[in-house]
């Protein structure tokens, strides 16, 4: 294993600089959009181990404090560690007991600093994060990558979602989507991801955050469509089946 024995190092193992070289158990895309009452976010429940779809009940979206919802793709162990950092952040925030609470914008900023500083030390948390929330009527939706790239938008996605879901959202998203329309739009995106992303798993959750709080749906599966006549005989007339 390359990380265990660097041949050119004269240093003892304890003073080797720690660096994450590659992820082990990973989650795939997260997709999120702003709608009339807040944010809707969707992620499947898969934890892949290389090419094996090893874990199928991993919750990749979690509420943070009173006003935020965090979704993550990438290394699950690093996501679990980020949740611990955020637990501490929220705890200290509550301990002030001053009636104020960290909003989504603040949590997003904290995560950006954490991710960027780890990147500068060549020891990244191998995740792409989506942070959404509502505070005092203001909707917020942002994203941070493992190298610290961060921005906010009306709809965001990680991984494959950037390539497959964002184009759909660019066409069909509009201000003040109803809850039903938002869910249907997310499901449209998740279905495409299920068809076209090898690491997608057909068990997903959709989470909603509004001024009133966070709701994460029960896990469920999407129907898929295979009965196209072109699928039945794709190589009609050709020699060989291609």
């Amino acid at each position: 294993m390359a990380s265990k024995q660097p041949e050119n190092s004269l240093l003892s193992p304890e003073s080797d600089s720690q660096r994450t070289l590659y992820p082990y158990v990973t989650g795939t895309s997260v997709v999120a959009l702003k709608y009339k009452d807040g944010i809707l976010m969707a992620a499947d429940m898969g934890g892949s181990y290389g090419s094996t779809l090893r874990y199928k009940s991993v919750e990749r979206m979690k509420p943070i404090g009173k006003h935020s919802l965090l979704g993550a793709s990438g290394e699950i162990s690093d996501f679990q560690e980020i949740l611990r950092y955020l637990d501490e952040l929220i705890l200290y925030d509550n301990m002030w007991d001053d009636g104020n609470s960290l909003g989504p914008k603040e949590v997003h900023n904290y995560l950006t600093r954490v991710m960027y500083n780890r990147r500068n030390k060549f020891n990244p948390l191998w995740n792409s994060l989506v942070l959404g929330g509502v505070k005092n009527g203001q909707k917020y939706l942002g994203t941070v990558s493992m190298i610290g790239v961060n921005f906010e938008d009306n709809h965001v996605a990680t991984g494959f979602g950037n390539h497959l879901a964002r184009p759909i959202l660019r066409q069909e998203w509009h201000e003040n989507l109803s809850f039903e329309d938002g869910v249907r739009l997310l499901e449209k995106c998740m279905r495409v991801l299920l068809y076209r992303d090898r690491s997608a798993v057909n068990k997903l959750q959709i989470a909603k955050i509004t001024e009133d709080g966070v709701t994460i749906s029960q896990p469920y599966s999407l129907k898929t469509y295979w009965e196209f006549s072109a699928f039945e005989n794709p190589a009609q007339g050709a020699i060989g089946s291609w």
């Binding site: 294993m1 070289l21 934890g47 181990y49 679990q80």
Partner: protein
């Protein structure tokens, strides 16, 4: 050894380990082969290691790494039990394993399955693969032999099995993995943990059922040659 294999691909390591919950507790199972390269260094190892009276861990991957992690966690749990004044919970044991696995992820190469019984949550199984992710599961499989068991468990696993059903499932599964995985072999060991305590069982290779293309073991060819010829049939 292939030194130029793609180091970026996660890979499983020699062994088959399993942890299964049932109606009342857990059953842990493992094979007994420890290999160094192609040589079997120990054909009767015990990969199911005690952490406390009520929590055990199945070890896979580097023998050294899994042993040192077990030793540290046993030590921490011992102190924790004294401070707490009562048996440690399975969750605490699993989280201690996770802490060591995660914080030393660059150096360790071990996948572990923690299983046990406590009075608060009953029987619980936690999987801690490479990287230090902690996943609570109704059943967990690990090690290189587990590749051959994903399909088997998808089909054979049922919620709410009895202790006997669960143990039979574990023994069958380890046996199937041994049949196909070169890095797994030897005997099948199981450990059953519930409110009544802990039971260790041992299934030597010749007590397991035969799978496809496997033959009944014989003492010698001579026994076959000298066997009485079959009786002629009577219509």
């Amino acid at each position: 050894m292939d030194l130029d294999m793609n180091v970026n691909a996660p890979h499983s390591m020699g062994t088959t380990i399993i942890g299964v919950t049932y109606n009342g507790g857990v059953v842990l199972g493992a094979d007994s082969r420890t290999s160094t390269g192609m040589y079997v260094a120990n054909r009767a190892s015990d990969k199911i290691t005690q952490l406390t009276d009520n929590v055990y861990v199945c070890r896979s991957g580097s023998a050294a790494d899994s042993q040192i992690v077990s030793d540290y966690v046993r030590y921490f749990l011992h102190q924790h039990t004294i401070q707490l004044g009562q048996p440690a919970t399975v969750k605490v044991a699993a989280n201690l394993i996770r802490l060591l696995s995660y914080n030393n992820k660059n150096m360790l190469q071990t996948g572990l399955i923690v299983g046990g019984w406590d009075k608060y949550e009953g029987g619980k199984i936690y999987g801690i693969p490479l990287g230090g992710t902690l996943v609570e599961q109704p059943f967990a499989i690990g090690g290189s032999g587990s590749s051959y068991l994903y399909g088997f468990f998808d089909q054979a696993w049922k919620e709410g099995m009895t202790k006997e059903e669960a143990e039979q499932l574990v023994v069958k599964a380890v046996s199937l993995a041994i049949a196909r995985d070169g890095a797994s072999g030897g005997v099948v060991r199981t450990v059953i943990i519930n409110s009544d305590g802990v039971t260790r069982n041992f299934y030597p290779g010749d007590k397991l059922q035969l799978w496809h293309d496997e033959l009944e073991p014989q003492n010698s060819l001579l026994d076959i040659l000298n066997a009485p010829s079959p009786e002629p049939m009577n219509i």
